[in-house]
């Protein structure tokens, strides 16, 4: 571990662009932020805002024809941009993990859940078989799966969406990473399961002293689970504020987003609509 005062993640002037027949299109336009140790940061935006690309760029997962550049992309004192592809593989999973949107597409359908979780651990640590098994069961228990021995023997199609996402979380957290990036971890799940999964992520993140980047389109959800929020629109951060101050948002885009959401006690006859005439529209 390097010195404890430095932030966990520093990003300065991150840019991601994609080459198209009509020239490069920039989807992340000079993003800068820092993430403190044990801080929970939310990145909010609508589709096309570049929020998911930001998450991937941190792990250097942008594939051709995409290109990413950054003045600084430092994780725990380590310049990620300078790492070789092989070193990056060692960092991904072991020190920075990512949870994707839909567990259905992220789990291997022909491997049992236990094997997949063990695999995630084996890549980064050498352990005797019995310990490995014990760690898997322990991890499944910690994501509140009842009867972990049985679930470890099951295949991904045999579990529900909520349980699948918990398995994903177990897989991502078993190497004990320092930073967890969760990209829309619950948007494929039902409301009642969403809260359980997010509570679980929150508990594990705070319990293990990890950093969290929660990427979502849902302002209120991010506000509930994060300390600080970045609101992105068209590749840029338009607003950065403490989660508790979200309702005091200054930027018209953030205000527009908040207002456009129907409320439980809805009395408005018409929802205010964002003015799309300025800047890029969807």
């Amino acid at each position: 571990m390097s010195d404890q005062q430095a932030p966990l993640l520093e990003v300065e002037n991150l840019r991601v662009s994609f080459a198209t027949p009509t020239g490069p299109v920039e989807v992340v336009k000079g993003l800068s932020f820092t993430l403190g140790r044990e801080e929970r940061l939310g990145i909010v935006g609508e589709s096309g805002s570049g929020k998911s690309m930001t998450g991937r760029a941190i792990l250097r997962l942008i594939r051709t024809p995409g290109r990413q550049t950054a003045d600084v992309l430092r994780f725990d004192g380590l310049e990620l941009a300078a790492q070789s592809a092989r070193q990056m593989r060692g960092i991904r999973g072991a020190r920075i993990s990512m949870i994707m949107q839909d567990p259905k597409f992220s789990l291997n359908p022909v491997m049992t859940i236990g094997e997949q979780i063990a695999e995630a651990l084996k890549v980064h640590e050498r352990l005797p078989r019995r310990d490995l098994q014990a760690r898997v069961i322990e991890m499944l228990t910690s994501v509140r799966i009842n009867d972990p021995e049985r679930v470890a023997q099951m295949y991904p199609h045999e579990v529900s969406g909520g349980m699948g996402q918990r398995v994903m979380i177990a897989m991502m957290l078993i190497p004990r990473p320092q930073l967890l990036i969760a990209d829309e971890p619950t948007s494929a799940l039902d409301v009642s399961v969403q809260a359980q999964v997010l509570d679980l992520i929150e508990e594990l993140v705070t319990g293990n002293g990890m950093g969290l980047i929660l990427i979502s389109h849902d302002l209120n959800l991010v506000a509930r689970y994060c300390d600080r929020i970045l609101v992105m629109n068209a590749g840029r951060v338009v607003e950065s504020c403490a989660a508790a101050d979200l309702h005091k948002a200054q930027h018209p885009y953030t205000q527009g987003l908040l207002a456009a959401q129907p409320r439980m006690q809805e009395t408005r006859d018409e929802l205010p609509v964002l003015d799309r005439t300025a800047g890029e529209s969807t």
């Binding site: 609508e46 209120n220 506000a223 456009a260 439980m264 929802l271 969807t282």
Partner: protein, 258 residues
């Protein structure tokens, strides 16, 4: 009192050998906006499909505007009742222009003056005339959903079945589509039966709701129940709480912190 716009009585629906919906009974009055609320697997979309004729294995009685429904889609029915699907990326044929999509219902029913009707409908759903000969991939999600709504309205139906019409859209686009649906209902005197999992959307769009869980309706409540959480059924109360509804601390916006 006139016949209800949609009436279901003791409807059971199966897929193959498994019964997915049991004992569903409800009436939707003409001009009303009614929501079917539930989580995935609750059978809410299946009810919609059975009414539309896309889930033919059902027993019981379904009638629309006083006429009993058959088990498949039929032409006469298509003029009274239409459906808008959930995913605007899957509900438009990838190789057909918007014009073709919108003229097709008219062509099938032998209605003339198509060109003028298409232009008129594009305007009604708030799409510029420039979109008329574009292909779906040249449109955004919100624009596609407008086209899907326009297609459903081409035959001037009185009853619209809406299957999560905004759940695949961004919040700001959702607001536009919900406003559009609300305006169309007011202007054309439509009856809506809307399936959704989003309670705030119900609060904005609907007058009453039926809450479904595991293939059964557990509660039918007026929209005002969303204001104070006065639900009778424990499942509904859980759903209400999980959706952020809490009578003690009103909407997150109004509250000081959450």
């Amino acid at each position: 009192m006139t016949a209800p716009a949609i009436s279901l009585k003791d409807v059971d629906i199966s897929y193959g050998d498994t019964k997915v919906v049991r004992d569903v009974t409800f009436d939707v009055a003409e001009g009303e906006s009614f929501a079917l609320v539930g989580e995935s697997g609750s059978g809410k979309s299946t009810v919609l499909k059975a009414i539309a004729g896309l889930a033919p294995q059902w027993t019981g009685a379904i009638s629309v505007l006083g006429k009993p429904r058959g088990h498949g889609p039929d032409r006469a029915f298509s003029e009274t009742c239409q459906m808008v699907f959930q995913d605007p990326y899957a509900s438009l044929h990838p190789r057909k222009t918007i014009d073709t999509v919108l003229s097709e219902p008219l062509a099938i029913h032998g209605i003339g003056n198509r060109s003028a009707k298409v232009i008129e409908m594009l305007a009604a759903v708030g799409l510029d005339r420039r979109f008329r000969f574009r292909f779906p991939h040249q449109l955004s999600g919100g624009q596609r959903q407008r086209v899907a709504i326009a297609r459903a309205l081409m035959l001037e139906p009185k009853v619209m079945l809406l299957d999560e019409p905004t759940s695949a859209l961004d919040v700001s686009v959702q607001a536009e589509i919900l406003n559009l649906l609300k305006r169309l209902r007011r202007e054309q005197g439509l009856t809506y039966l809307m399936v959704t999992h989003n309670l705030p959307v119900v609060s904005f769009m609907c007058d009453r709701m039926a809450v479904m869980n595991k293939g059964r309706i557990v509660e039918i409540a007026p929209k005002t129940a969303l204001y104070d959480g006065s639900f009778a059924d424990p499942y509904t109360r859980d759903l209400y709480a999980a959706s952020g509804g809490n009578p003690d601390a009103p909407a997150p916006l109004a509250a000081s912190d959450t």
